[in-house]
Amino acid sequence: MRVTVRLFAGAKALAQAGAVEVQLPAGATYADLAAALAKASPSLQPLAAASRFAADTEYRQPADAVDAAAQIALIPPVSGG
């Protein structure tokens, strides 16, 4: 399945793109997505370990299955306030 990952803030700056597309096997998890994203966009490496994923505006865990129909976003460490 083909997944589009939205990027924000420093991740968008590192990748020089607002989104990255990656190809995943069926049944892939967010941990698999992180690995695929690291391969597709090596420039994201400084943020990779500390970032989380969200699907349809909800945080997801690494072991959760990726829902290709959802809007998926990479959430780098937040710094609001």
Partner: protein, 143 residues
Amino acid sequence: MIQLTDQPIDAAALLAAAQQPAAGAVVLFVGITREFTAGRQTTQLSYEAYAAMAEREMARLEAAARERWPLVECCLVHRTGDVPLAEASVAIAASSPHRADAFEAARWLIDTLKQTVPIWKREHYADGATEWVHPGETQQAAP
């Protein structure tokens, strides 16, 4: 009440909203743009939000705070875009019948907001450099 806005935050209006007859205490927290961080001079901050998710997380925080403390009013407002020195980027107003609950709730709300709400700040330094703030970011290897 939660709000994301690209306009200046009216903290007096939040205070007024929280000042209800059922309350005996109002705590107002305002986070503002600081000029010096670790000796480095900032000229302004700019904030980016994943708006739909930030609003949802802020609403979740309000609901969780209301469940945990007997709050009369609970307002969270965060500004996006450029925030000049000394202006507010975030404001929280919590009111409760007795002061301990309002103090605890306001403290918990700002601490948790800073950990979970998808909003990011970018430093604009006096020397012209800019930098996204990502706590926990690993250093980029030298090219």
